[in-house]
Subunit: 211 residues, 2 copies
């Protein structure tokens, strides 16, 4: 299978899941600042030109992070019990709609205006507090590591380059995830690709993955 | 089961699914302008105070529209085939993240600043074009009516009160959905509740449900 990714974007979660499950992936890096090659390929299969996009061995295209993750984690990192699966759906929806799209996208988007960034930042406190409450007393989003954790760690990394404040319990969760071999390996591979193309960013969070 | 809803919000989709499947629901209306009663109950079980929130007969709380819909539609309006289920996940993620949260929420939010509204509107054309492309030649999001259609019709209703332009193919899809008995009934019940508490809005779209 072929996975289109961008370093440290939410596609990091797919790489983590692939390492967790031992799924071989052909990883194709895309860069929106170089709109030919891989980026043009991606846009041809996904008009939003967003990562991740997965092309299966029989040629089907799967877009949207929650869909790609549930496909890659099926049978291992996606629960089969109905109630647990419902909890997974809640987590994936909360992470994607409330954290990823509502809070982080405008803050990370260099084309977003100041009003949009202020609006996004105003949405953060209640959502981050809800996240902390959801994680309270838990090692993982569900009872064991799942695709929701892979997605959540990818999103929480972005706090390092945004003004979003994370409470200690959420930072502790992220640090625990960074100690997981699959996450450590994925971060170690994508961080240099990210650092090589972007202006300097604070490195403390990403270094904590290996500490 | 008890469903917390707000008239013509995305919780409309849960009502449609309940009517499609014959699931009895106790429907509890919440109004953020009256922050006691049902709204206080909702906030006690969902810190984001968002609808829909479902309380099952054995007391479990399910939040997040994609999760509530997949729970309510399980066995009937959620496909069991793995590839079809993946397509459903793609649709639910696309509708919730790209349309609902990215485009419509800031446009509908009376507290959103002008920059946030302009940013949201700038995101609409490529997303609405992608939606039109996804619907091209199809009667439904999947091969038959599913929870994705229930969600999509609820979201597309909001174009009536926002500057988002829908191409003819998308309008035609919405009109077809409005002719469906479950949708017609749900709209007929929620529209008066909505109209009774809000300033006047253009009625042509909602009236088309019954025409």
């Amino acid at each position: 299978m072929k996975l289109y990714f961008s370093p440290l974007a939410c596609s990091l979660a797919s790489r983590i899941v692939a390492y967790e499950t031992g799924t071989p992936l052909q990883l194709v890096e895309v860069d929106s600042d170089r709109p030919d090659g891989a980026y043009a390929e991606l846009r041809a299969i996904n008009p939003l030109a967003q990562v991740p996009a997965l092309v299966t061995d029989d040629g089907r295209v799967i877009t949207e992070n929650a869909a790609v993750l549930q496909y890659l984690g099926d049978g291992t990192l996606v629960p089969t019990d109905r109630n647990e699966r419902t909890k997974l759906h809640e987590w994936l929806s909360f992470i994607s709609t409330e954290l990823h799209k509502t809070v982080y996208v405008p803050l990370l988007d260099k084309h977003a205006n100041e009003g949009a960034k202020a609006y996004a930042l105003s949405k953060a406190p209640v959502r981050i507090a809800a996240l902390a409450s959801r994680l309270d007393g838990r090692s993982y989003a569900l009872d064991s590591f799942s695709v929701a954790d892979a997605y959540l760690v990818a999103v929480l990394n972005w706090s390092t380059v945004t003004p979003v404040e994370l409470p200690p319990a959420v930072v502790a969760y992220r640090t625990r995830m960074h100690e997981r071999p699959s996450v450590r390996r994925a971060m170690a591979e994508e961080y240099p690709l990210y650092a090589g193309r972007k202006p300097a960013i604070p490195q403390r969070t990403f270094q904590s993955a290996g500490s």
